[in-house]
Subunit: 252 residues, 2 copies
Amino acid sequence: MCALRMPQADGRLPLYARLRDQLASRIANGEWSPGDTIPSENRLAEEYGVALATMRMALKQLVDEGLLERRRGTGTFVKQPAFRADLFRFFHVYDADDPDGSVIPESRILSRHEVETPDEVRLAFGESNTTRCLKLERVRLWSGEPMLFEEVYLRLPDFEGLLALDPKDMGPLLYPVFLQEFGILITSATDELSFGTATQASARHLELPANSPVAVIERIARDPVGRIIEYRRVHGRPERFRYRVTLGEQHA
Amino acid sequence: MCALRMPQADGRLPLYARLRDQLASRIANGEWSPGDTIPSENRLAEEYGVALATMRMALKQLVDEGLLERRRGTGTFVKQPAFRADLFRFFHVYDADDPDGSVIPESRILSRHEVETPDEVRLAFGESNTTRCLKLERVRLWSGEPMLFEEVYLRLPDFEGLLALDPKDMGPLLYPVFLQEFGILITSATDELSFGTATQASARHLELPANSPVAVIERIARDPVGRIIEYRRVHGRPERFRYRVTLGEQHA
DNA sequence: GTCAACCAGTTCTCTAGAGAACTAGACTTA
DNA sequence: TAAGTCTAGTTCTCTAGAGAACTGGTTGAC
């Protein structure tokens, strides 16, 4: 706690940002589970020994990021994970037959290995990268049918331990794993959508003929400092593909 | 100004939200132009007779919405309009040959008239709507070639005056017009992307064969209170279509 | 038993202000 | 001229607290 009180004399993040990260890990740790009421802003401010407004700044950020939900007169709650993590934490890809997007897709990890960083990925990562990185291939299925094929590239010194992890422990969403296992919090991401043709690999896993048209999502995800953590290329079956995103204040 | 000081005893928005709207109109009015430095938070707080923190809340929202940019030690600036208004204010559609998305598309309004509200639009608008609405058709061109065909539906009592407006006065972007002419500020929007086939109209205006595959964007845009202001359906040529969106903190 | 009134606890709005971090420009000094 | 120093002005961080708005439960009157 004492370390938190120090002003950011060193190159550290400001107090409210460190509080935000602290609270995020308490969620990732499982100390507070989805649906739980977390302590009131008063109690939290007291517990960490900070001013109320400072704690509110930290909480506000977590609300903006979709981890928490606050209800006046009632309390602060951890959001249900369905649409707040991984692809869904920021954006929303879903099946055309499921207009609410309430079905959580099944997730199958196909492979994980260290590879030479492809040129287009290196370009996205920027100069400050190594020549090798981790590649993870995955398929997402809606009611048994393959809908998305994902190739995920991760920085290598940081994610070394991922190869040792049992896929069974990982669940359908990646970003909670990043936080829990490696202490890396994703707070911003850019998606770029376009249309292209399937590669050999994506055609095979999506059960499409070669060179079929597919939806393409390219994602760059960053941590709070702006460091690029992940580059992801997603191919999706076009006929049932839906992608939804809301900017600005969220309304029911 | 006095009206601003009143607590929201009536059903009004909180003070900081009204300040945000006030500042937004001063930008829309042209009192502050893109690139300008606006008065310091101290001066603004004094001018409106509110506390510094309250003014900061208003400014923060406008920064989040992309209207303003703040630089510590320097000041607060009105952002260049290219990527902060209309389709671009929230999202980013651009040409595949123009990776920065720096080219501003030409905009041609094809028609404006009152129509019976189509069923799918009524569904989006929700129950609280009239049976008639305003429809606006438009084409966007990148370097002379048609890329997007837009059908925009607007609430009718609110936008009655739009029919009288000269298209020459409207410029390439709609939301500034909404604010300037009708006092309506768009603060949130949801886009939904999918793939479909061209309609007769969209095929004609995009110069595509009938039933060609197209990219489809459906948008619902809301005002600060959450009222649905606009429903928009966009068809785009798929081969050069790119759509970009960033959530979370913006990094260079 | 039902309904209204009250109450404790929560988040939200707004105020007031101090000091740190940072920038651009003016000024000084070698 | 060039380089360093200072200063006024800006945003950013953090503190302290009061009152409003709202919720869920308890209490009390009838």
